[in-house]
Symmetry: C2
Subunit: 333 residues, 2 copies
């Protein structure tokens, strides 16, 4: 076991784009396991767009990370020492230890993972928060019906890739939006969506028109901004828009202003923002279905793995500009 | 009986503000009552903001009025001749005969009104489409709970005035937004709302802050535009926004762009556009409650009555800029 607990702290709050100078990498002693506690060696750290919100002290649904604190984040790892009756050394656990190699906990919010055929890292992606987010947003807010058209942005990402595939499993026509030809090819050829619009190529509005000539019934929004506006203008009557993220806006100093809101009235649309943690009652259903689909080979996922915690800031900055391809993870061991 | 059927036709489609030249007043013979038909002498014509949409051929939820056709609109009147088994001369009826003195119909969409203590004109307002719109939008989309704060724009208007009063009847704190001190005084002193913000006086954002220090749980939007944006920025978590109208945008050539959409995600808001005609199953419930409240004296309403069909275009233009005070009607007899 390393004797050092490497950590990434929030050093400064970014205004606009996140830069490496907003973080600080420090090396601390491995924390002592107190009575009733466990010490966990993290194997993977999840990087997710919501973390940009926690770096800011603007009003949001969660408290910001304090300056000098360890950045928050989901982790999977192994119990290395246990003074807690429910855990023993060697247990695989899903936790929320943040950007650090080791963490201690009294067990609150720590979930044991039954080691099986699925890789530990999957519990941070398709079998974790992003997968459940996709499931709940699409199923409970999007209410897709067979034969309808579902559009999802950030379609090759951790959430979007699951949304598109579940839409197909529901008998919908599924169309992705992604950045670049390589991601778009992955979305159609690997994930099996019916089409994918490259928002970096040509006129978004014209390309959407071609890919979805019959309009959109469900738009699962991960990005906000001009893509939201363009899809808003192509919604069918009684369309639903689960708003899961607005990654295009997280670094923005001036927010994008939405021009096509009249469609909300004309088409009687429902736009609904959601945060997966508000829907705890549905996690078990979501994970049960997702795990079944995975074992049946009906759900695919892809990971972007960066090695070493010291590279997490650069990987996170890349994630915010779409440089990742699939679920972005940091390998810690 | 007059021998002439005065009508107002759509002469030209407006681009931007509606003007009198977009209409044409004509005098035609009273239509002949065919077999199975009734002829109705209209007493009141309802003027409503939705009519602006029908003057345009932009994509909308309903067909536009054709150039040269009679403008559409709700009417109440009296059967003057009946060749239909279910109607007799003298029956009071609610219909959709449009901007004209007489209309013939095979009875489709015509509702007999039991003459009672409530004035016939009320069936175009509080006991008609605007009242039902207020009820369904607030109750079924807004889901107000006792103790919550409900904000309604165009609060002295045909729909808004009913929304605010129903919100009070549900045990909510109700705050109106209206234009001018006289309307605001009516909203608080006559309708009994807890506060009213005059959007024409001072800083809307500051005045909203003062009137709703604890934020907004339900915002019933009749206006869109900058008022929508300002209230969007003051919504509480899990707030609901029934979008009923966007009167600020109907004459706009360039739509207002909404800047505060990030609140949809941060506060997990639901924004839902609706058209009352999509909710036919709830009309009877709505009218039953509204009629009971009226008879109990718990619901007040106000009418702006303009005499003479030839004055309808000017009254309609006034309605679009908020010159009316309460339900705008044209008295035809």
């Amino acid at each position: 076991m390393s004797e050092t607990n490497t950590q990434v702290l929030l050093k400064q709050r970014p205004v606009g784009a996140v830069q490496e100078r907003h973080f600080e990498v420090v090396h601390k002693p491995v924390p002592v396991t107190g009575p009733g506690q466990i010490c966990v060696r993290n194997h993977y750290l999840s990087l997710d767009p919501y973390m940009r919100g926690r770096m800011s002290d603007a009003k949001s649904y969660a408290q910001p990370v304090a300056i000098g604190d360890v950045m928050v984040g989901g982790t999977v790892g192994e119990v290395v020492e246990s003074r807690h009756p429910d855990f023993k050394a060697g247990d695989a656990v899903l936790g929320y230890f943040g950007w650090q190699l080791f963490g201690v906990s009294d067990g609150t919010g720590i979930t044991k993972i039954e080691k099986g055929d699925l890789p530990l890292s999957a519990y941070l992606g398709v079998l974790g928060m992003p997968g459940v987010t996709a499931y709940i947003g699409l199923m409970d807010i999007g209410h897709p019906k067979a034969g309808e058209t579902v559009v999802v942005s950030a379609a090759s990402g951790a959430v979007g890739s699951v949304v598109g595939q579940i839409a197909k499993l529901q008998g919908c026509r599924a169309v992705g939006i992604a950045g670049g030809e390589r991601k778009c090819r992955y979305v159609t050829e690997e994930l099996g969506l019916d089409a994918c619009v490259d928002y970096k190529a040509g006129s978004l509005s014209e390309n959407l028109q071609k890919a979805i000539p019959d309009g959109v019934d469900v738009y699962f929004d991960n990005v906000g901004g001009p893509i939201f506006d363009a899809v808003l203008d192509r919604m069918n009557p009684f369309g639903r828009i689960p708003v899961c993220g607005m990654i295009s806006q997280y670094n923005a100093v001036e927010p994008y202003a939405v021009k096509k809101m009249h469609n909300v009235l004309i088409q009687r649309l429902t736009i609904r923002g959601f945060i997966v943690s508000d829907h705890a009652a549905r996690w078990v259903d979501a994970l049960t279905d997702i795990e079944n689909w995975l074992r049946q080979g009906r759900l695919k996922f892809r990971e972007s793995i960066t090695e070493g915690l010291e590279n997490a800031p650069a990987a996170f900055i890349g994630l915010l500009s779409g440089k990742n391809f699939g679920k972005q993870l940091i390998k810690l061991i």
